[in-house]
Amino acid sequence: MSGGESKRLLPPAISAQNVRLTYANGVRAIDGLSMKVAHGEFLAIIGPNGSGKSSLLRVLTGLQPADSGEILIEGELLANLDTRERALRVALVPQSLEVLPGYSVEDFVLMGRYAHLTGWRLFTPRDKEVARDCLGRVNASSFAHRGMNEMSGGERQRVMIARALAQEARTVLLDEPTSALDLAHQLMVYKLIHTMHREAERTIVVVTHDLNLASQFAERLVLMQNGRIAADGSPNEVLKREILEDVYGRDLAYGMFDETISGKPRPWVLPLAKARGKETSEGLS
C-alpha cells in the first residue's frame, strides 16, 4: 500500500462542525465554524488580530471547550478523549512559555513524552532515546544540558518543536511560532516545520500573521475574520487582492515569488503605506 492510499483511508486529522465559542466578556471568538484538516496536510490559519485564530487552536486541542459544535480528532469525538489520549494524537507548540528556571533542555523535551508514560510514569530508555533523537533533528543536541532560562528566542523555539516531535502525535499545531524572531530565525523555524511535515510525516496546522512564510510553506491557507472562515484554499487562491482587501484594508502590495520550496510560484503580500491621492495605484504588481 502506498503512502497516498493509506492516508486516504484514515479519517481526517481534525474535523470541526459548526463550532461556537463566546467568552465570558461577551466576545464571540468563533462563530459557527466548520473545517476539516486532512491527514498529512500543511495548513496555515491566517487572519487579523482578534479574528479567532488562537481561540480556534485552543478549541481544536481541547484546551478551551467550545460552547457548541462537534470536534473529531482522527475520527474520535474530542469530548470523549481524556487529556492523555488527546495528547497522543495532537501536539501543541505554544506561542511562548513561562520561564522554567532549573530545568535543562533535555528535561524539557522529555516532558513531551508524558502521555506515553505508564505505571509509575518513569522515563524509559526509549523515552530518553526519542528525546535525544528529536533534539538532534532540530540541531539542539549541543545545548541539551543548558538551562531553559538561558536560551535565545530562536533556540527556545527549536526546543519547543523538539518537544512536540518527542510527543509523537500525528498532528502538530503551532501558535505563531515566529512572532518573536528575526528574519533568519523565522526561516529556520519554517524549514524545521517543513522537515517535520515531510520527513516525520506530521500533519501541520500553524497559526501565523506572516502571510509570506505561510504562502511559501503551507499547502492550504484558511483565512479567518470575525470568528468565521473568510477564504479557504491554496495560497494562490487565498492571497488575492479582492479577498485580502476586505480583511486587511487596501494598503497592501502584491507580487509573486518565482519559485518556492514547494517548487511552484507563490504569491507574496506586503503592507505598503501608499502616498496620499494614489490609493488607486496598482502597487508593485
Partner: protein, 384 residues
C-alpha cells in the same frame, strides 16, 4: 557533582541523620539524660524487637521519643507542604502560612481550645445570647476536638482561597496570594477577638498563646498518629503529582497540552497541603519558616524536579526540627552546665532560656535572616 549526584548524596545523608537524631533526641535531655543505648533499647521495645527494658525511667524516655517523632513528622509535613505549594503556585514565596491555610488551622484550634476550656456556652452567649455559664467542658468533647476543628479550619480556608482565586477555571497566582493575605487578616482578627474575650482566664489564654508559638512537648500516641497520618498521606501522593508539578511549571495550558490533568493535580496537591499542614498545626501550632526555608534550600542543592524535591524536602524538614530538639534539649543544657561549672552563671542561664524557647520562635529567629540572605544572594546573581 551534578544535581542528581547531589540528590543521591543528600538522600543518603538525611536517611542516616534522621534515625541518629531521633536516638539523640530520645537519650539526651535537661533532666535525667539517658544514654544512647537506653534510647535504642526503648525504641527496640516499642517496635517489639526487645521484650523488656530495665529500671530506667521509661515514661520519661517515652515522652522524649514521642517528642522526637513528633518533630520529625511536623518538620517533614511542613516542608513537604511548602514544597508542594511552591510548585503548584509556581512561586518560590508560596507556603501554607502565606496562603491562609495555617491561620485557618490556628483559628480552628483556638476555637477548639476555647471550647475545651468550657467556653462553648459562653461563646454562644457572646454570639447569640445563651444564658448558661458552664465552666466544665461539655460532655463528649475530647482532646480530638482541637485537631478536628483545626483540620476543618485549614480545609475550609484552603477551599475558600482556591475558589476566590479561580476565574473561568484558571487559578490566578497573584489573586491567590492576595486572597490569602486577606483571609489571614480575617482569621487574625477573629483570633484576637476570641483571645480578648478569654483574656481573664489565664489558663486558656496561656494555652492559646503558647500553642500559637508551637510546641513539640507532651505528645501522646493519638497525636502522633494524626500527625504521621497527614504526613504519610502527603508522601503517598508524591508519585501521582511529582512529574505533573514539573509540567505545571510551564503553565496549566501547556501541561494540559502535554496530557496532564491540571485540575486533578491542583485538587490532590491542595488537599495534601491542607491535610498535612492541618495535622501538624493542630497539635504543634505554627512552626514558622520551615515550609518556606527548607524547600528553598533543597531546590538550590538538587534542582526543581519535584519527584526528588518533594521527598527530600520532607526528609530535610524532619532533620531540621529534630536537630532543633537535640540542640535545645541536648546541647543547650550541656552548655549551660559547662558554663556554670566554669563559674559563668549568666551564660548558663542564657543557654537554659534558649533551651526552653518554643521551637517556632527559634526557627523564625534563625530562619528569617537566613532566608533574607538567600534572597539577596539570588537577587545578586539575577536568579530572581
Amino acid at each position: 557533582m551534578n544535581s542528581s549526584e547531589r540528590a543521591r548524596f543528600l538522600t543518603i545523608l538525611l536517611l542516616l541523620a534522621t534515625p541518629v537524631l531521633v536516638l539523640c533526641a530520645t537519650a539526651y535531655s535537661e533532666t535525667a539524660s539517658g544514654t544512647l543505648v537506653d534510647a535504642a533499647r526503648l525504641i527496640g521495645a516499642k517496635l517489639h524487637l526487645l521484650s523488656v527494658t530495665d529500671n530506667l525511667d521509661n515514661e520519661l524516655l517515652k515522652l522524649r521519643l514521642f517528642r522526637a517523632l513528633c518533630a520529625a513528622g511536623v518538620g517533614g509535613s511542613l516542608a513537604l507542604a511548602g514544597a508542594m505549594a511552591q510548585g503548584l503556585f509556581r512561586n518560590p514565596m508560596a507556603e501554607p502560612g502565606l496562603l491562609g491555610i495555617g491561620s485557618g488551622a490556628t483559628l480552628g484550634a483556638v476555637l477548639g481550645i476555647a471550647l475545651l476550656g468550657g467556653y462553648g456556652a459562653a461563646l454562644g452567649r457572646f454570639v447569640g445570647g445563651a444564658d448558661t455559664d458552664s465552666v466544665t467542658p461539655p460532655a463528649g468533647f475530647t482532646l480530638g476536638l482541637v485537631p478536628i476543628l483545626s483540620l476543618f479550619g485549614a480545609l475550609s480556608i484552603a477551599l475558600t482561597v482556591y475558589r476566590l482565586s479561580t476565574r473561568g477555571g484558571r487559578l490566578s497566582v497573584s489573586l491567590l496570594l492576595l486572597t490569602g493575605l486577606a483571609i489571614n487578616a480575617i482569621a487574625s482578627s477573629l483570633m484576637a477577638m476570641i483571645q480578648m474575650f478569654l483574656l481573664s482566664d489565664w489558663q486558656v489564654s496561656q494555652a492559646i498563646m503558647s500553642w500559637g508559638f508551637g510546641t513539640l512537648d507532651d505528645r501522646n500516641a493519638f497525636q502522633l498518629t494524626i500527625i504521621w497520618s497527614g504526613a504519610l498521606l502527603a508522601l503517598a501522593a508524591i508519585p501521582f503529582v511529582g512529574l505533573e508539578l514539573d509540567l505545571l511549571a510551564g503553565g496549566e495550558l501547556d501541561a494540559a497540552a502535554l496530557g496532564a490533568d491540571p485540575a486533578r493535580v491542583k485538587t490532590i496537591v491542595l488537599s495534601c497541603i491542607a491535610i498535612a499542614t492541618a495535622a501538624s498545626v493542630a497539635f504543634c501550632g505554627q512552626i514558622a519558616f520551615v515550609g518556606l526555608l527548607v524547600p528553598h534550600i533543597v531546590r538550590m542543592l538538587i534542582g526543581p524536579k519535584h519527584r526528588v524535591l518533594l521527598p527530600l524536602s520532607f526528609l530535610a524538614g524532619a532533620t531540621l526540627l529534630l536537630s532543633m530538639v537535640v540542640f535545645q534539649h541536648g546541647v543547650c543544657p550541656w552548655f549551660a552546665a559547662s558554663f556554670r561549672a566554669a563559674s559563668h552563671p549568666s551564660w548558663g542561664t542564657a543557654f537554659d532560656r534558649i533551651g526552653a524557647l518554643q521551637p517556632g520562635i527559634l526557627t523564625s529567629l534563625i530562619g528569617s535572616p537566613f532566608f533574607l540572605f538567600l534572597l539577596l544572594r539570588q537577587g545578586k546573581r539575577g536568579e530572581l
